[in-house]
Amino acid sequence: MGLAKRIIPCLDVDNGRVVKGVNFIGIRDAGDPVEVAKKYNSQGADEITFLDITASHECRDTTVEVVEKISENVFIPLTVGGGIRSLNDIQTMLNAGADKVSINTAAIQNPHLVEEAANKFGSQCIVVAVDAKLVSGKGETAYYEIFTHGGRHATGIEAVDWVAKMARFGAGEILLTSMDRDGTKDGFELNLTKKISEAVNIPVIASGGVGTLDHLVEGIKLGKADAVLAASIFHYGEYTIQQAKTYLFSCGIEVALFA
């Protein structure tokens, strides 16, 4: 037996409420983040990821308060992302009780932020989030391009090289979201997941598209992901984390079963 594959429920939080969009548009309200985090903790989640999807400046204080409350109630690792732009933002979230922060747009704008953050706080708490989409121009070979600002801005940056660079700069983990699959429930983009996971020696969390428990299994077995992240299948009670872990275990995947 060895290191367990992780199941990470994701809380997309807008102005203090958990929501989940479909292709980043369309919103259903799924509750109070502290209560949702406590529920996942009691179901045996391996970690919790909290993404502040509005991240407008006036909402920052709300986010810090929610992170503080979660960390006082939930004794598993907590990753916070969304609107992290500076060493100061990272410090604020770590002080509020986050164990890791996830950096997305700011890493594209200033890759050295990742390097500075890893040096200052340690690689173990620096997650680089990548939103990628398969694109091809006229007569071009298709490639995975990185998008920022919740999928609204194309960057022209190729995802596999970028992730390798982020690992060299000291990222401790990659949170990989397929923009093509996010919210679709069609399963992970396995080709992308495998390419990224094999390109780096740091853990990769697969995200975007989970609709069934078999999708989680595929992400790990075929996509080679070290952890799988999902939101809607857990938020609306289709499955509990415990059910997901039991299923993975029955498929021969090592998981942490909290008795």
């Binding site: 367990a4 992780r6 391996d46 960390s71 004794f75 690792p77 983990e173 740091i202």
Partner: protein, 215 residues
């Protein structure tokens, strides 16, 4: 029984979580502090740490945290729990940051996982070692009370400890290399994992620490 815990604060990392977890399992008071008097007047001590070892050692020295730490370990003989980089800082020397001398409170070394780490079946093992792994309890100890052997705890680290005196090892993990997950020396207990992030069994471990008299 009251239990006042001092969490030694040398400015590195998230001390909020460990303080919350200690309160959650019944500590009557938790001080997050680097004040020598406050540290020495507590019932028991937690010595945490995250980040790079050179920065940690630099801050420990600058804030003179090594002085009260030695006092509580060797003179007051209080129960002391070191966590993660706190454990590594107790060793003789770490190979992180091109080599850093540590506190040498326990004789041992801190090494990096190799980049080409492989598991059984030649699977690539990623570094950092991040997530839930099984701790093999090599020796019974009051801090393992109520915790089954091979319980999974949460780890996140790229460097690992090996003590010189193998009789000090009370818990081990195999992640491509076999490393020391828990070591005990008299009133001192040190773990590589994060009990404050290890779900119910992590809380149980911390509860055991609050009940432990250091012998």
């Amino acid at each position: 029984m009251t239990s006042v815990v001092a969490v030694i604060d040398y400015g590195m990392g998230n001390l909020h979580s460990v303080a919350s977890a200690l309160r959650h399992v019944g500590a009557s008071e938790v001080f997050v502090t680097n004040d020598k008097d406050q540290i020495c007047s507590a019932d028991r001590i937690v010595f945490p740490g995250v980040g790079a070892i050179r920065d940690c050692m630099g801050e420990i020295k600058r804030l003179e945290c090594d002085d009260p730490l030695n006092e509580v370990i060797f003179n007051l003989r209080l129960p002391v729990l070191a966590i993660c980089v706190g454990m590594q800082a107790l060793m003789t020397r770490s190979e992180e940051n091109e080599g850093v001398d540590c506190l040498n409170i326990i004789e041992g070394k801190v090494k990096r996982f190799p980049d080409d780490l492989k598991g059984l079946g030649s699977d690539i093992l990623k570094v950092p070692h991040m997530g839930w792994n099984e701790v093999i309890q090599t020796v019974p100890h009051p801090l393992w009370d109520g915790i089954p052997d091979r319980t999974r705890f949460y780890f996140v680290h790229s460097y690992w400890v090996r003590t010189q005196d193998r009789l000090q090892v009370v818990g081990g993990v195999d992640y491509g290399v076999k490393f020391d997950a828990a070591i005990a020396k008299d009133n001192l207990f040190a773990v590589q994992f994060h009990p404050e992030k290890s779900h119910e069994m992590g809380l149980r471990f911390l509860k055991n620490f609050l009940a432990w008299e250091g012998t």
